[in-house]
């Protein structure tokens, strides 16, 4: 397992070197909420089997961009997206695309934890159920346990799997939502501040999870912790006031960014 994972990492690095494996490509993405413009012509690519971190001050459009990647913005009435986003070369805003399939391939963890008012078990089992990823009761049990394990929640909830998911603490809810998203094993996972309500240990677990997922999945993560971005991501994109300021390898970004604003932001000299 470890062997394989290393091999995969290498493969991913290879790809990155050749700059070929672009899982998702955003071209001139602009978003309006009614009159208000939230994103300005963002050009951002997401590489396969890579963790891409989105950083930037609060309200700069990180969540908005993230939501464009699996078309969750469609559900907001007055939200208008222009530009082009592709997933494996398919335009995801093409009218022929099946949004549901898209969202099954591009999973999402929301910024505000939003568990279903159902039991913890059902929360996690829901995705596999609708996608037919598990058949028997045993399959489900296994998927639920594995997902909760990965999100570092299993020990806390294993005795109360059939109690309501809304009766969990804030951090537990957040991990539940992560477990729920992981359970359907999407190709791309979008995480909007997945560790915001987590203590360092839980955060470490989630980061470990991200690291582990990277071998097979593509991950985009929004975070406001520079340290976290530095720890988990290979690529980092910095937003400011709706503009993409800079996109770069994480190492470079945190040591020697091209843009002055990035530098200022990372140094905390901003605002």
């Amino acid at each position: 397992m470890n062997m394989m994972s290393e091999a995969a990492v290498e493969k991913a690095l290879d790809k990155k070197m050749n700059d070929i494996a672009l899982k998702m490509i955003g071209k001139d993405v602009s978003v309006h909420y009614g009159e208000k413009r939230a994103l300005y012509d963002v050009n951002l690519n997401v590489r396969e089997n890579t963790v891409t971190a989105l950083i930037g001050p609060s309200g700069c459009g990180k969540s908005t961009f993230l939501r464009c990647l699996n078309r969750m913005n469609d559900t907001i009435d007055n939200c208008k997206v222009t530009g082009k986003i592709t997933l494996d070369a398919d335009d995801i805003y093409d009218p022929n695309i099946d949004v549901v399939e898209l969202r099954a391939r591009v999973g999402m963890v929301f910024q505000k934890p939003n568990p279903f008012p159902k039991s913890i078990y059902e929360n996690v089992a829901y995705g596999p159920k609708i996608h037919g990823l598990a058949r028997s009761k045993a399959d489900f049990d296994q998927v639920v346990e594995a997902s909760l394990q990965r999100a570092g929640l299993w020990n806390e909830v294993k005795d109360r799997l059939h109690e309501s998911g809304t009766g969990l603490s804030g951090g537990q809810q957040q991990r539940l939502c992560i477990a729920r998203a992981v359970a359907v094993s999407p190709e791309v996972i979008l995480m909007d501040e997945p560790c915001s309500a987590l203590d360092p240990i839980a955060t470490a677990k989630v980061e470990e999870l991200i690291h582990e997922l990277r071998t097979n999945y593509t991950i985009v993560i929004v975070t406001h912790s520079m340290q976290q971005a530095a720890r988990v991501s290979q690529r980092t994109a910095m937003f400011h006031l709706g503009h993409l300021v800079e996109e770069n390898d994480t190492d470079k970004m945190f040591t020697n960014p091209d843009d002055q604003r990035t530098q200022d932001y990372i140094m905390g000299r901003f605002g």
């Binding site: 969750m72 929301f110 609708i130 729920r180 359907v184």
Partner: protein, 440 residues
């Protein structure tokens, strides 16, 4: 804001710091008032309900009892089959002079001189006019009874029933009453002989309608209402919920859907009799369904109930927080799945409330049934929804308009039955609703 609160001297308790005035007294008074309004509102409703129910029950509980007269009846061959032809011609048994048999029995029991014609007639009037038919059915079923004397329990005439229940004011001049003093005397005579007693009125639930109050029952109406409600439930709930789902979750928000929304609200304001007109022209004249049938009634009531269910369902759907929807969509659920797996269960209490209220309304409605011929005298219990039948409110309406005094208690009795029906019908929905209720 940066003013420092008065310096605290040494180790004095900080509680000494002056509290801000946030109008706590006034606000608590408002709070108490508000609460009191709530209690008052509920009390108001419940008190009126109790008042109504107690009136109805006070007037109606007697309807569940029925006076019966048990007397020995001599089924004489002379009266029934004088020419002894019953073996060859069974119709003899049907056409025989049973009224005379009944009359003779009561006359004998009371010891009246059979030659006094008016007295005999008065005595015979104490027994329900259905008695001869009852006797006939008895004899036809068992011709061996002919020539024997059997004890038969007859229903007392409605007026005797009322007198026995003490509902007749004996101070009224005899001429203005339906029961004469002689009959009262006889009644008491029978009572002391143990021949008259009150029994549970099963006929109220099993018999069809009748022009004789003592024999009138709700059988047809109960079956009819049952059919109606089954049809309404089976159609209006799925259609109503489906329509609401489309309008609330799928329909593009444009002028057209606005129009539909307004239109549905407006349908709720259409007087119910207009639905009767619609049913008459669409279901009877156009589609050719039979008149007076509960199927047509059910369809009409369905159309009438739909707006209620749709309005309630839409309100309930709208109340489901958007985060639940995003959560489902984000997991790759289709919109259909999102609706049916998450939104609908959360909206269930509201939907059930709409159903409860809508069905309650449909159960109590008479006007639309008038035009499709369900406000009718129907004696035979319908076997299918295509046969003529009535409904409980119709029966109440018709009995309320009857001239005979004995129908007054039966009207109230029927209302009690209707309310029991309502409670039984809603019980399932209420329990279900409690299961679905949760806060998040």
């Amino acid at each position: 804001m940066t003013n420092i609160v008065s310096p605290v001297a040494g180790a004095v308790s900080p509680a000494a710091a002056p509290r801000r005035d946030i109008g706590i007294k006034r606000r608590y008074a408002a709070e108490r008032r508000f609460r009191a309004y709530g209690i008052a509102a509920i009390t108001f409703g419940v008190v009126f309900l109790i008042l109504l129910l107690s009136t109805v029950i006070r007037n109606g509980y007697t309807a569940f009892q029925q006076t019966a007269i048990t007397i020995p009846v001599e089924i004489s061959e002379k009266l029934i089959d004088p020419d002894n032809k019953r073996a060859t011609d069974p119709s003899v048994l049907i056409a025989a002079n049973y009224p005379a048999v009944v009359r003779d029995a009561i006359v004998k029991q009371l010891g009246i001189d059979p030659s006094k014609r008016t007295e005999v007639r008065e005595a015979a009037a104490m027994i329900s006019k259905g008695a001869p038919i009852q006797l006939r059915n008895l004899v036809v079923a068992n011709p061996a009874l002919i020539g024997t004397t059997v004890n038969v329990t007859f229903l007392a005439d409605a007026n005797i029933d009322s007198a026995n229940k003490g509902q007749i004011d004996l101070n009224v001049p005899e001429a203005n009453r339906k029961v004469s003093d002689t009959q009262i005397g006889w009644m008491n005579q029978l009572k002391s002989a143990g021949a008259i007693e009150k029994q549970f009125n099963t006929g109220l639930f099993t018999s069809g309608n009748s022009s004789r109050p003592e024999a009138a029952g709700l059988g047809v109406a109960l079956v009819g209402s049952l059919y109606l409600m089954l049809i309404v439930l089976a159609l209006s709930l799925p259609i109503g919920v489906a329509a609401s789902i489309y309008l609330e979750e799928f329909a593009p928000k444009n002028k057209l859907t606005d129009l539909i929304e307004v239109n549905i609200n407006n349908l709720a304001a259409v007087p119910s009799i207009v639905y009767g007109l619609l049913g008459l022209s669409v279901f009877i004249n156009f589609a050719g369904f039979p008149r007076s049938a509960s199927l047509v009634g059910g369809l009409v009531l369905t159309l009438m109930t739909l707006p209620t269910i749709i309005i309630a369902t839409r309100a309930a759907l709208r109340a489901v927080p958007p985060s639940i929807r995003s959560a489902a969509l984000g997991l790759g659920a289709s919109k259909m799945q999102m609706v049916f797996h998450h939104v609908l269960p959360l909206a269930m209490p509201g939907i059930l409330t709409g159903t409860i209220i809508g069905l309650a309304h449909a159960l109590g409605e008479t006007a639309p049934l008038l035009l499709i011929g369900m406000v009718a005298f129907v004696a035979d219990i319908p076997g299918t929804p295509l046969e003529p039948s009535t409904a409980l409110p119709v029966q109440i309406y018709m009995w309320a308009n009857e001239a005979e005094r004995a129908f007054v208690e039966r009207t109230s009795g029927a209302i009690i039955v209707l309310l029991l029906f309502l409670i039984l019908m809603n019980l399932g929905a209420i329990l279900l609703r409690r299961r679905f209720e949760r806060r998040w």
